[in-house]
Amino acid sequence: MTAEPIAITGLGTVGPHGIGAGSLASALASGRPLASTIDRSAGYHAVGSSRLAGLVPKVDLSPWLPAAEARRLSMPSRYAVAAGRMSVEDARLPSLEGRNVAIILATAFGALLFTEKLVRQILDEGPESAQPFYFSECVANAAAARVALALGAHGANVTITEREAGPLLALARGVREVREGRAEIAIVGAVDEMTPLVHALLDRFRGPARASRDHDEAPRPFEARRDGVLAGEGASVVVLERESEAKARGARLLARVTASVAAFDATAPVVDWGSGAGPLARALHGGLSRAGHDIASIDLIVSGASGARRGDRLEAHTLAAAWTGAPLPPVVVPKAVVGEYGGGFLASAVLAAGGAAFGKIAAYEVSDPELHVAPHDGRPLPAPSRLLATSLAAGGAAAWAVLERP
């Protein structure tokens, strides 16, 4: 059954690349990680732990978020509101007034810094010191609520928290809101912040990449020496509309979302990836089939591989099982550049659908004989007609989306 096509007509992004799709596209073309040094002065980090994160540089958000409005917002709320307004501006939507607009955001961790400050107030100074301002901003849905307030969006306001699979689950939910008529427009994205405390905690679970004698700290998706991710932050938000309505108003189409699939790998431990490639591949096949897609028609994979040891292995094995041994189309790995969390992956997938260039991953040097997958080598690729974006989360959740070039 062919469903009504849903188009992406706007993109707003704030991340380690800075602001906007242009800076993100340049970063993806460079193939180098957008890493900067995380503040370790609080003493949260152990000796030998990771030192880098994909942090948002000092950027001027004031065109989308006036200083007076930003003053009481957590960083995730600031990123999300700025990216949300940017996406609407990019979509050239004349006005959202009177429109039924849904807001669907994913976050893995919520407002970490405000949560840390509030918990510290409670535990150090006593619960009577708790600031209401911190509390109202540290609920997971604060960013989505702030975007709704900023845009006057009265449709569904949903915050999805499924770690690395969240952004594609949010995209799927947004598509359904529009396709099934519950919303005219969906503003969909992902937002997160990275703090020294949580960076150090992730490091205790060996999440972020570490430097060693034979390599630096860069994330190395699918590489033999991979040992972790670049923990990132930021927000990326897209505007979804019915393609027919977008065309009718003369909108520029960035991509078309034609399928969404979700599954779960129950073999996964709580904080790592499992080994259920076969069932995941079956779920992917089934979902694509229900959407009317033959997997052979995919001509680019935007992989969620991040450099995680077991995560990339599961991703490689799932892709191999899904393609049943046939050669894979080119595989690009944006998380090698933008890192994990903060929506950079979602924005990268949208740019990929438009034919963005993905440079050679500088850190990829030694192939992993167990995986049989390597990131694209950076040579120019024709713009894809249909790409598969993949996200396998630590803990078991999985989500995929098919984007087409309009």
Binding site: Y44, I103, F109, G110, T115, E116, L118, V119, R120, I122, L123, D124, G126, P127, E128, A130, P132, Y134, F135, S136, C138, V139, A140, N141, A142, A144, A145, R146, A148, L149, G152, A153, H154, G155, A156, N157, V158, T159, I160, T161, E162, R163, R176, R182, A200, L201, R204, F205, A262, A263, F264, A266, V270, G276, R282, A283, R290, G395, G396, A397
Partner: protein
Amino acid sequence: MPRAEQHPAIVVTGLGAVTPYGWGVDRLWEGLRRGVTAIGPFSRFDNARHRTHVAAEVPLAEGPEPPPRLSLADRFAVAAAHEAVSRAGVDLSVCAERTGVFFGSSAGGMLEGEWFFDAHIHRGARHAKQGLVVSQQFNGPGDAVARALKVGGHVETISSACASSAMAIGAALQGLRRGDVDVAIAGGSDALCQLTYAGFNALRSVDETPSRPFRKDRLGLSLGEGAGVLVLERATDAAARGATPVAILAGEASTCDAHHMTAPHPEGIGASSAIRIALADAGLDASFVDFVNAHGTGTPLNDASEAAALHAVFGARTGSIPVTSTKALIGHLLGSAGAIEAVATVLCLARREVHPMPDDGAIEPELGLDLVLGAPRSLPDVRAAISTSLAFGGANAVVVFSRVDAA
């Protein structure tokens, strides 16, 4: 209504609950019928320095042996899910890849996160056991259920504050209608923790005495903890395997006030819109709604806003529709509230009586509601009911249930 006829009917075939009344649906129903609040002094954490000192906590000693590496919220979730699946009599091993988990949680394993952080900042990083934060994330309870049940389908956690698990039930309904999954485990779980307790106190939203929803002297909410889970299936699938449905999940809707971060729209515009859309989704006229399981927190602003929303939808009939609030008995379960109140709503529908709230405070005539106080209200001809969840950030979610034999 034309829209409902486009959808396959979705039924509830199993229920599970862990609440301050104890472990299991039977304990919940017994407590709800009795109408004596479970809110009182509690010991989940040292609350001596907090502004208020009451909550409703789950009696942990009565529960099953805690599985390793699960947070308390995970533990509630897994126990409720096992009960719901057992009551549904569904063999998930034959449909694991077509079974989904749709869950809500607002705090995940924050309680254990606080223990970790306390050790970290007061005794040093080496003394903070990282096992405490293994399942700290919002998605901890839902993922724990998926792992425990060995589910392979769509798994999604929604963390939209107090509307989280009502939204999760809505997402499950839509997933079943679309055919994304054949069985949906829908619910929510949250545990008491200092962050939410101190946070709501900082907002002056918590009453020092058990909450009195819709009463004249109401001063705020009371917090609680626990989990509620529903097993949902398409009616045709349930019938094919010989299952007996408990109720029909007829419709759902979500809206946003986009009015204020912590205060509801005074006229309840977002809430009334959600109720109308949910009824339209269910294909039911408002006249079919025979009782309301209200969000009913007991805060002055929320209750007034919700009453306004009910009047906007039900008009002159509002004053004759029985209204109850489960929160008056087991507290506000936050991300789990929508799920446990859905369980309560289904029980009331199936047993044809509405559970009471404690009869402890003067009613506020201006609100114009028919509150169920003191004793269960028998409704032998009950047809349908709504359960409302109205959250922080203006997020509203409404689910509509109808009686199986009244459809």
